[in-house]
């Protein structure tokens, strides 16, 4: 079967998966002799790490795009605000208060312009997308950590979350039982 690729990223993805798959298959039989232990687990899971890294690269591109948009919004606002400040400079009296007056004008204009930016829908929208793409990267990192922890026979995040959830439910049940007991005690006391 011959494969064709339209872009370098797809080719890179294919190449990485091809070699990790092949190496896994080639090493599988001798490695299976050591059927327990972290190295065996790690060998089994290495493909998952490769996949996560490849997908993280895709998401890194998205993150960088949003990050550039974010900084463009900040730098455009900065330039516009500085222009407004520059227009006001000639009107500032040349006295001992000049520096203080300049500072006041600078802060007022920058504060107004940046607050307007932060209040705007375009800022909120891009910021939301920026955070979402950062969270995508975090998700890949979490997944890689899960593989490593699993390889070391340690509980991963999902397993710990299950424990947290069960503890939370138990805490609720205990609180309810205590509350019911207290109410019954008060009723009996009356």
């Amino acid at each position: 079967m011959k494969t064709e690729f339209n872009d370098p990223l797809s080719y890179y993805k294919h190449l990485t998966l091809f070699w990790t798959d092949l190496m896994y298959l080639m090493a599988n039989k001798p490695a299976s002799l050591l059927s327990a232990g972290p190295m065996r687990n790690f060998a089994t899971n290495i493909k998952k790490i490769s996949s996560e890294i490849i997908e993280a690269n895709d998401d890194l591109v998205e993150f960088n795009t949003k990050f550039l948009d974010y900084y463009k919004q900040l730098s455009d606002t900065w330039s516009e605000a500085q222009k407004k400040v520059n227009e006001k400079i000639p009107a500032i009296p040349n006295d001992a208060e000049r520096l203080e007056t300049y500072k006041r004008i600078w802060i007022d204009i920058f504060e107004t312009d940046f607050t307007e930016l932060f209040d705007s829908g375009k800022f909120g929208e891009n910021y939301g997308k920026l955070v979402a793409s950062e969270l995508e990267l975090t998700k890949h990192w979490n997944n890689i950590m899960s593989v490593l922890l699993q390889s070391a026979n340690l509980p991963n995040r999902d397993e710990i979350d299950d424990v947290y959830k069960q503890l939370h439910d138990l805490r609720r049940k205990v609180a309810k039982i205590e509350s019911d007991l207290q109410q019954k005690g008060e009723q009996n006391g009356k």
């Binding site: 001992a96 000049r98 802060i107 504060e111 607050t115 932060f118 909120g124 929208e125 939301g128 947290y164």
Partner: protein, 354 residues
Amino acid sequence: MANELKIDPRLVEEFLNFSKNIAEAPKLVAAPDEMILETTPHDVAYTEDKVRLLHYKPLTSTQNKVPLVIAYAIINRHHILDIHPKKSWVRNLLEQGIDVYMIDWGSPTNIDKYLDMDDYVNVYLDHCVDFVKHESGTDNVSLQGYCTGGTLAAIYAALHPKNVKNLVATAPVIDGWKDTTVVSNIAKHVDVEKMVKTIGNMPPEFMYYCFSILKPFEQGLEKYINFFRNIHDENYVDNFLRVEKWLGDTPPIPGELFKQWIKDIYQDNLLIQNKMYVGGKQISLKNITMPLFTQVAVGDHLVSPECSMPLHYAVGSEDKTLRMYPTGHVGMIASSLSQKKVLTELGQWLKERS
């Protein structure tokens, strides 16, 4: 010389003084970590998980019969309500003869990520109110909530109206769509589902980001310049560092609580439409029929007045008061104005109804 640079000697003097102040600062002021923020004596009356109920020691020989329970916000810690002996919200109320309790929600950790609005309202807050009722021998309490605590208090009052004799909502977050602050702009656009699933609790860094875009040049630059300029003014410095320490102490918010908060209040705006559910029960603000006192600050850039005021019009109470103060979110609770005006009016209002 034609190219001679002329600099006003007063500017040079000011620059030198400013540099001297920076150099002397460590000798003159305590490090924020060395400062203790809890100023008014109190006992820890009740604890549950990480939540503490503080009971303040009386400062008058007689006290109002109905105690006041303050539900602090879920953002930052309760210390701002007792930040400085001369600007303490709690101390002022104690001096007016009010028996004050305050809920400190503590600092949640990963194990608390599944705590939700139901836990905060129907477990922690309800148990604190039950404890106070039992300890003080009353059938109900006055309940005050500040900021997001105001929302929790309003939800509690709607679900448990018999337990609340009077409700005080100080800058409550009620109508998310009407909020015009930068915080609400961020809240409306963030994928909170993904954030909670990926990270768990709301990280403090996210909150720091929201704070940093609120008046970034005044708050991020000018206030520090003023701090060093006033480094020899003991009161100024003490007050500044206390508030700074409070601002920097932002605990995480439990993931499930944060998710419901952002979705139901800011994104879908369910509370004001009486469509929000907590613990399986629909919240109707019309169930709030006890006396209500709503306090808003005209210059509030964290919770805009348009977001808080709808509570006044949405409740079923006949006895209701709305007050607007010419100050900001923190100024309303920890300033000279709050001591002279806001708390005087609140104390009077509570005494007339307790």
